[in-house]
């Protein structure tokens, strides 16, 4: 496994706030029916302005970790804190409000296919909108303007009026990121966001995530399958194997031997 050359990383903004923990996961455990343990006491901290990459072999619990973090899947034990608020202790109504601080991007862009890229991007703001018109399916002007600004931010404003079903994979993923930005989140969770993209689109999306952390001061947590991408673009690498953290270190300190241990389950001979 070759180590990539050093790349320029934009310095996080935010002064004294930079590096402040925005997401803290403590002892997160998920046991499915039948007793199968998918997450076993996972601890994770994601900081403002940083990209944390989560690596691990298939079935190690990476996606379940993200889903449990936002309670799309209810964890069996453990706590999740978002910027000082314990998400795992909230009622459904309070959870709905608290979730506005977290945006999620999936492997598939999950856009509403028949709506335009602009409407999809603007729909990220729904959590902070109210009123009968919005409940009946209308998007107010301010949401559309925010959506458009975010399409510009991710570089796909030229497809704003196109239906989502006509977009390429890279364009769709960028629109999904624009939708996440319209939510004005403090934490961005990305579950294999580049798994179905070609190398150019992969690079573009990773650079974009990197710059969102640096420029917007978000904590970005990104599940990846390519260790090289993690080492190029992440500040920290967390390795998950069989539901347990086996690597948690700055990206610059994660060497080939650590990755081999992560993926093969034992130390390399070299």
């Amino acid at each position: 496994m070759a180590i990539a050359p050093a790349v320029h990383r934009p310095a996080p903004r935010g002064g004294a706030e930079a590096g402040r923990p925005l997401l803290e996961v403590r002892g997160l455990t998920k046991r499915f029916d039948g007793g199968r343990v998918v997450l076993d006491g996972v601890d994770l901290v994601a900081r403002r302005g940083e990209v944390t990459a989560i690596l691990g072999p298939n079935g190690s619990g990476k996606s379940t970790l993200l889903r449990c973090t936002v309670r799309l899947v209810e964890p069996s034990a453990g706590t999740v804190w978002i910027d000082g608020e314990e998400l795992t202790a909230l009622s459904d109504r309070r959870l709905q409000e608290a979730r506005r601080a977290i945006a999620m991007v999936f492997q598939s862009a999950h856009l509403v296919r028949r709506r335009t890229a602009l409407a999809n991007a603007a729909s990220g703001a729904l959590g902070s909108l109210g009123g009968l018109a919005v409940a009946c399916g209308r998007l107010p002007r301010e949401a559309l303007e925010l959506g458009h600004r975010n399409l510009v931010r991710v570089g796909v404003e030229h497809v704003a009026r196109q239906r989502a079903e006509t977009l390429s994979g890279g364009q769709a993923q960028r629109v999904a990121i624009a939708r996440a930005l319209s939510q004005r989140p403090r934490v961005l969770l990305a579950d294999e966001p580049v798994a179905s993209l070609d190398p150019d689109a992969t690079e573009e999306v990773m650079v974009l995530l990197r710059s969102l952390a640096a420029d917007e001061g978000m904590a970005v947590v990104c599940v990846l399958h390519q260790p090289e991408l993690a080492r190029w673009h992440a500040d920290r690498i967390v390795g998950l194997r069989a539901g347990r953290i086996v690597v948690d270190a700055p990206a610059t300190e994660v060497d080939d031997a650590a990755l081999t241990r992560l993926y093969r389950g034992h130390a390399s001979s070299g």
């Binding site: 799309l72 506005r100 509403v112 296919r113 729909s123 990220g124 729904l126 959590g127 409940a135 999904a176």
Partner: protein, 272 residues
């Protein structure tokens, strides 16, 4: 296992696995039961194709007496056709308006809780279990004869059909956009109107158009029990043996159905 290790049997042929034999026996038993059921159906319905041949003269006689169509009654026939169209249209529209929220409550992936799911499924079941003609008769006793009870009868029964079809359509949808908006803090209603309904809209409209088409034909039968429209006119002309007027009414009905089918094709193309 090497080939040499396999048991040799009857000139090298492998024995038929026991499971295959059991499957064959099961299929044979299934086919035998199906044949028995069909035979009893033929008996109960007194199905005798030879009688059609023997009675072909009667059919010919009706056709002869029905031609040429009596076009002097075209204008009332067109009025009745409009009434039939309107009963089907309004009945379907009312059913659609009720079935959209009902379908959301009755779909496992969008229902807010178990109680709402069971209540909506029960309501849909009741609407569907009672035929539209019975609903129409019930409404005739309440509001009298005419197109209004027919519209209500069609509407209520169609809620049972569309509610269930909408719910199944919603259950089959891609839940990705729904999860994204839920994670983003959107409310249940917002998720329904911004992710669920836009995602399934073409399917819902396709189902509604199909139901409208079915309701248009059902309206004819409703006319027989006082629901107005072409059905009532057909029923009257049959009772009075006015076969030439009957032909006119049947031709108008045929044209109406063809026009509606054409419109449905155009609409389906537009909503894709």
């Amino acid at each position: 296992m090497s080939l040499a290790a396999l048991p040799q049997h009857g000139g090298g042929e492998l024995p038929r696995p026991r499971r295959d034999r059991r499957e064959l026996a099961g299929n044979a038993a299934g086919a035998a039961i199906l044949v028995l059921v069909l035979v009893q159906a033929l008996h109960v319905t007194r199905f005798q194709p030879t009688e059609i041949v023997a009675g072909v003269g009667g059919i010919y006689d009706i056709l002869r007496r029905g031609t040429p169509p009596d076009l002097t009654d075209l204008q009332p026939a067109l009025g009745a056709a409009l009434e039939t169209f309107d009963v089907a249209l309004l009945g379907t529209f009312l059913a659609m308006v009720v079935s959209v929220p009902l379908g959301l409550l009755a779909a496992e992936n969008t229902t807010p809780n178990r109680a709402a799911y069971l209540a909506s499924r029960s309501l849909i079941g009741i609407c569907r279990a009672v035929p539209d003609i019975v609903w129409a008769l019930l409404f005739v006793t309440a509001v009298g004869l005419g197109p209004f009870p027919g519209t209500l009868g069609l509407g209520v029964h169609s809620v049972g059909i569309l509610g269930r079809l909408y719910a199944e359509c919603i259950e089959d949808m891609d839940m990705g956009p729904v999860h994204v908006l839920r994670v983003g803090g959107a409310g249940r209603m917002q998720v329904a109107t911004h992710a669920v309904l836009p995602g399934v809209l073409p399917s819902l409209l396709g189902l509604t158009l199909y139901r409208f088409d079915t309701n248009l034909r059902a309206t004819i039968a409703l006319g027989f029990v006082g629901g107005g429209g072409l059905g009532l006119q057909i029923f009257t002309t049959l009772n009075l043996f006015e076969y030439q007027r009957l032909t006119t009414l049947l031709l108008v009905m045929l044209v109406l159905i063809l026009i509606v089918e054409g419109l449905a094709v155009l609409l389906r193309r537009r909503i894709r």
